[in-house]
């Protein structure tokens, strides 16, 4: 597993797609991100680049060292300020619906849970990943980047072993969708690992446990 992680050429962190920017937070580890749209940037994220379970990162310079604060999209929400508004609407034959001003305020929000941190190296990849709780607070307007799978894998490789040590915190933040976001992360990692990697089986066990617990909680079993 570690071999495969080093074999893969990690993409440059500077060339990662921007997903959105932070607009608020629910707690120290739970942030709300507004997804970029066509008018906000040249290259808005594709739907699959901001999907449920997508790992993301935020760059932060702490004490002169550049860090990547790692997170994952665990929830999404659509916002339409116009929704439910009653009153006259301007419409004519060639334009069925005319809603000046508000149209651009429709937006997609994503919930991002923080997982841990890593140091950004000079060759623009990450090193020294840790799954401990990040101590630093992010700011409103901080840019959230799409985290390529290779970087996600190296973030999950701690001391040459696959780890998801943030798991309990993530379940707490993600609440009802906790097990799904973990399963999505595990799927992603599994795709990155060779078929015969011993960690595949470990991931199976972890996945099984998480799913079982969720089913127990939901009253299925």
């Amino acid at each position: 597993m570690t071999e495969s992680a080093t074999d893969v050429v990690t993409p440059n962190l500077d060339s990662c797609v921007r997903i959105g920017s932070i607009v608020s937070s629910n707690s120290h580890l739970d942030y709300v991100v507004e997804i970029l749209k066509g008018r906000d940037c040249d290259r808005p994220p594709e739907l699959h680049e901001r999907e449920f379970g997508q790992p993301v990162f935020i760059k932060k310079v702490v004490d002169g060292t550049e860090h990547a604060v790692m997170g994952v999209i665990y929830d999404t929400k659509l916002v339409d300020p116009d929704q439910g508004r009653t009153g006259p609407r301007l419409a004519q034959d060639d334009q069925a619906q005319f809603t000046p001003g508000y149209i651009e305020e429709r937006t997609t929000l994503a919930g991002v849970a923080l997982l841990g941190t890593a140091v950004i190296t000079d060759n623009r990849s990450i090193a020294d990943p840790t799954h401990r709780m990040p101590r630093w607070t992010l700011e409103v307007d901080d840019t959230v980047y799409h985290c390529p799978d290779e970087v996600a894998l190296s973030f999950h490789t701690v001391d040459e072993q696959l780890q998801l040590a943030y798991l309990d915190r993530l379940v707490d933040i993600a609440g009802d969708l906790g097990s799904e976001v973990i399963v999505a992360l595990i799927d992603r990692l599994r795709r990155m690992l060779p078929e015969d990697d011993p960690s595949q089986r470990t991931l199976d066990v972890v996945e099984q446990n998480i799913e079982w617990q969720a089913r127990e909680r939901r009253g299925v079993v």
Partner: protein, 547 residues
């Protein structure tokens, strides 16, 4: 107890039973069930080490079972993946039962009647202390050098400790006077354990007068004790081992009681029984003790007339059952002087006698010896002036629970009253359920080894008062050579590993495969059955058609 440094656990609180408490140990302090632990309490202003036995152990904190889902993935790997620490995370909750502190005045355990406070540190009981207080040695301190004591039998060491770390010496006097039972299924080391005890009893410290009733001839290696360095005393003592083979075993007819005779006769009618008992009583009143069947018949004919039909039938029966049996003799007898002597172990080999004869010779010998012991204690002339100990291999033969054996009565008498007259019995058996309950329940010291048969376990439970639940629970799980010693010789039951014998063991299983092979080869070497002779002349019928 020396402070917290040797502590292995901490008391959490009381348990379910009044004498039980619960304590917690981390994973690295691996305590086995059955281990002895101590803590200190203040009794009457004095610090006392209270002993307790660990009875149960359960995991209260450990990795969840879901981590064990894939046998190929170690639970630790899953734990590490999830960031769960795996070092020393396991916590165990153990239950212990208080045995008590060693009361030096009473020389036994006394219950402090108070459980340790939560938070009390517990440590493993020191070997030397256990050696002093576990057996009933009557030491006046709780940490004496028990090897200095006389009259003790080193039977083995505590099973939970490393070999020979905590040696258990049981007081010979205790089990030799209040009787002993060695109960174990076949092949778990009954005769081995008995031989270890015989070795100890024949050592220069005890110089016992021992009699072994051996229906299988399993004790022939005991002779090695003679001339063996370990058994020699400083004063030149050397144990004697005497073998009595079946040819030398004789019962003088006049020693038989009317009940014994009835037991060997073929189905006598009521009239015959009446005739016989009258004549027998009259013969026993006579001065002469060397009369035979002829004299008895004469006596009957004298009383009932020569033509009496019952006397005729009795004559035939008596001649068949007694006169033609080599065991009975009008004059010869086993001389008691020969078979009992201090420092002498006599093995009565009865392997060629049938069961009835084994029972009869045993009955008569026990009865004679008991009479002599009675005389000795009452200050009358006696052939046996010292206490004796008799060991019965296959004890259920001599004191069976069902069916009658002539020996049962005298065995019951000796087990219930022999103590006063210095006559101890040791019963060895693999079927405790087949031994008479009165006999078994009088055996004050028990060495129980592996027993799986529920009936036999039940018999032990019913008849042995000292056998607590924890002793019985251990029995099915023991392996050969391991035993639970309980009863009068111990202050509390202990699980031991029986020590190795100094003489060779002669009662192991036969090497069956080897014997079969030898027999086969033997057969191959001998000429095979000769071919049917061809007398010629006849015409060959050729190959016969099957249809």
């Amino acid at each position: 107890m020396s402070g917290h440094s040797s502590a292995v656990g901490t008391v959490a609180g009381p348990g379910d039973d009044p004498n039980e408490f619960v304590f917690i140990t981390p994973a690295e302090k691996s305590l086995k069930t059955g281990e002895f632990i101590t803590y200190t309490v203040t009794v009457d202003g004095e610090n006392r080490s209270v002993f307790a036995r660990v009875t149960n152990r359960e995991l209260i904190r450990g990795l969840p079972e879901g981590f064990l889902a894939d046998p190929q993935v170690a639970p630790e790997t899953v734990a590490t993946t999830l960031g769960v620490p795996t070092d020393d995370t396991e916590l165990y909750r153990l239950t212990a039962t208080v045995i008590g502190y060693y009361n030096t005045d009473m020389t036994t355990f006394a219950n402090p009647r108070q459980l340790p406070e939560p938070g009390t540190p517990l440590s493993i009981a020191p070997d030397r202390q256990l050696e002093t207080v576990l057996p009933n040695l009557g030491c006046d301190t709780d940490s004496a050098d028990v090897t200095d004591l006389d009259g003790i039998a080193h039977i083995g060491w505590l099973l939970n400790r490393s070999p020979e770390a905590t040696n258990i010496h049981i007081p010979i006097e205790e089990f030799a006077s209040t009787h002993l039972a060695i109960l174990a299924s076949t092949g778990s080391g009954k005769s081995y354990t008995a031989s270890v005890l015989i070795e100890e009893m024949m050592g220069p410290g005890a110089r016992a007068s021992l009699l072994v009733f051996d229906p299988h001839g399993e004790y022939d290696t005991l002779a090695e004790m003679q001339g063996h360095e370990t058994f020699k005393g400083e004063d030149g003592y050397e144990p004697g081992v005497v073998y009595y083979d079946p040819e030398r075993l004789r019962v003088r007819i006049s020693e038989l009681e009317i009940g014994d005779v009835m037991a060997v006769l073929d189905n006598p009618s009521n009239r015959m029984q009446d005739r016989l008992s009258t004549a027998w009583r009259s013969m026993q009143r006579q001065e002469s003790r060397t009369w035979g069947i002829n004299e008895l018949i004469n006596e009957m004919e004298g009383i009932y007339g020569e033509d009496d039909a019952s006397v005729g039938a009795l004559e035939w029966r008596l001649r068949r059952s007694i006169e033609r049996n080599d065991l009975f003799h009008p004059e010869d007898n086993v001389p008691l002087n020969d078979i009992v002597d201090p420092g002498q172990c006599t093995v009565l080999q009865m392997d060629t006698l049938d069961r009835r004869n084994q029972q009869l010779i045993t009955t008569v010998l026990l009865r004679r010896m008991y009479r002599e012991r009675l005389d000795a204690v009452r200050g009358r002339d006696s052939e046996i002036e010292h206490p004796i100990f008799a060991l019965f291999e296959e004890g259920h033969r001599f004191a069976p629970a069902s069916g009658d054996a002539p020996s049962l009565g005298i065995m019951r008498t000796i087990t219930s009253e022999g103590r006063k007259f210095g006559f101890g019995l040791g019963i060895i058996s693999q079927r405790p359920s087949k031994i008479d309950q009165d006999v078994l329940s009088q055996c004050g010291t028990q060495i129980s080894m592996q027993i799986q048969n529920p009936n036999d376990q039940d018999a032990i439970k019913k008849s042995i008062e000292a056998a607590g639940e924890d002793v019985l629970r251990e029995l099915p799980g023991l392996t050969p050579g391991q035993a639970v010693v309980s009863g009068d010789a111990m202050n509390t039951p202990a699980l031991i590993q029986v020590r190795g014998r100094r003489t060779q063991h002669g009662a192991g299983s036969l090497p069956v495969i080897e014997k079969w092979r030898d027999a086969y080869e033997q057969q191959q070497r001998e000429p095979t059955h000769s071919e049917a002779a061809d007398f010629g002349g006849g015409e060959s019928t050729g190959v016969q058609s099957l249809d």
